[in-house]
C-alpha cells in the first residue's frame, strides 16, 4: 500500500513541538512556566523548541517584565494555525486511507 503522507509537516515531527502547538491552538496565550509544567520540560528544552517554531513563523514570543521578573508568553500566529490544521488534516487523511 502506498501511504499518502502528503502534507505532514516536518516541523511537527518532534513530540515537544507538537505539544507546544497543541497547547497554543487551545489557548490565546500561554506563559513560559505554564507551558513548561504542561509539557513537563526543562527550561532549555522548551526555549530551544519554541525558538525553532518562532523562526518558522508559527508562534509569536512576547517578552515583557512583570515588576522585575521577566515573563515570556507564547501565542500562535495565523500561519502557525494554518500549518498545524493542515498537519492534523494530513494525519486524518492518512488514517482514512488506511481503512
Amino acid at each position: 500500500m502506498i501511504a499518502n503522507l502528503d502534507g505532514l509537516n516536518k516541523a511537527f515531527e518532534s513530540k515537544i513541538r507538537l505539544g507546544i502547538m497543541s497547547v497554543l491552538m487551545a489557548n490565546e496565550s500561554v506563559d513560559f512556566t505554564t507551558m513548561k509544567s504542561l509539557l513537563e520540560l526543562t527550561d532549555g528544552n522548551l526555549a530551544s523548541h519554541a525558538r525553532s517554531l518562532e523562526e518558522l513563523g508559527y508562534i509569536r514570543c512576547e517578552k515583557k517584565f512583570i515588576g522585575r521578573k521577566p515573563n515570556t508568553s507564547y501565542s500562535i500566529t495565523d500561519e502557525g494555525r494554518d500549518a498545524f490544521s493542515a498537519h492534523i488534516q494530513a494525519l486524518e487523511n492518512f488514517l482514512k486511507n488506511q481503512v
Binding site: A3, L5, L8, K15, L18, G19, S22, V23, M25, A26, N27, V30, T34, S37, L38, L39, I88, L91, E92, F94, L95, Q98
Partner: protein, 200 residues
Amino acid sequence: MENKEALNTLNDIKEMMERSSKFKAISGLSIIIIGILASLVSAYIYFFLGDYHINTPAKWQTTIIVAFCLLVVAFLTVFFMAFLKAKRHNLRFTFDTTMRRLLLNFFIPMVAGGLLCIALLTQQHYGLVSSITLIFYGLALINSSHFSYSELRYLGYAELILGLIDCFLVDYAVLTWFLGFGMLHIVFGIIFMLKYERRK
C-alpha cells in the same frame, strides 16, 4: 509512519489541547455531597417555616443566612475535593489560567445574580428570588462548562429550565430549591461518577 502512530499523535494533540484549557479536577462525589447538603437545608427551611411560604422579612432573613452558609460550604467542599482528586490523579491544581478562567466564568453570573437578589429583597420583591437563584446558577454552570467538563452545561440547562418554570409559579420556592440544588446535583453527580470515575 504506522497507522497506530498517527492515531496516537492525534490523541496526544487532543489530550494536550484539553488539558491545557480545561480544569479537570472536579470530583463527582463532591457534586453528590452538595446535592445532599442542599436537600437537607431545603428540608430544614421547609420545616422551620412550617409551610412553603417565605413571605415575611424574618423568614427571608433566616433563609438567606442558611442559603449563604450552604453556598460557602458547598464551594469549599468542591474546592477541597477537587484538590484531593488532583492529588490522586496527578492533575494540576495550581492557581493557573485554567482555574482562574473557570472561577471567573463561574462567579461572574453568580455575583450578578446574587446582587440582583439582594436588590430585590431590599425592595421587598420576594416573588422571583428563588427562580433568579436557579437561573443565574444555571447560567454560571453553562458559562463555566467551556473551561471544565463540558457536561456541566447539561446541569446548567436543567437548573435554567427549572428556574424559568419557577418564575411562573408562586410559593414553590423551597420545593424548586430542593429539586434544583438538591436532586439535580445528586442525579448529575451520580451520572458524572458513572461516566468518569468508575473503577476499571
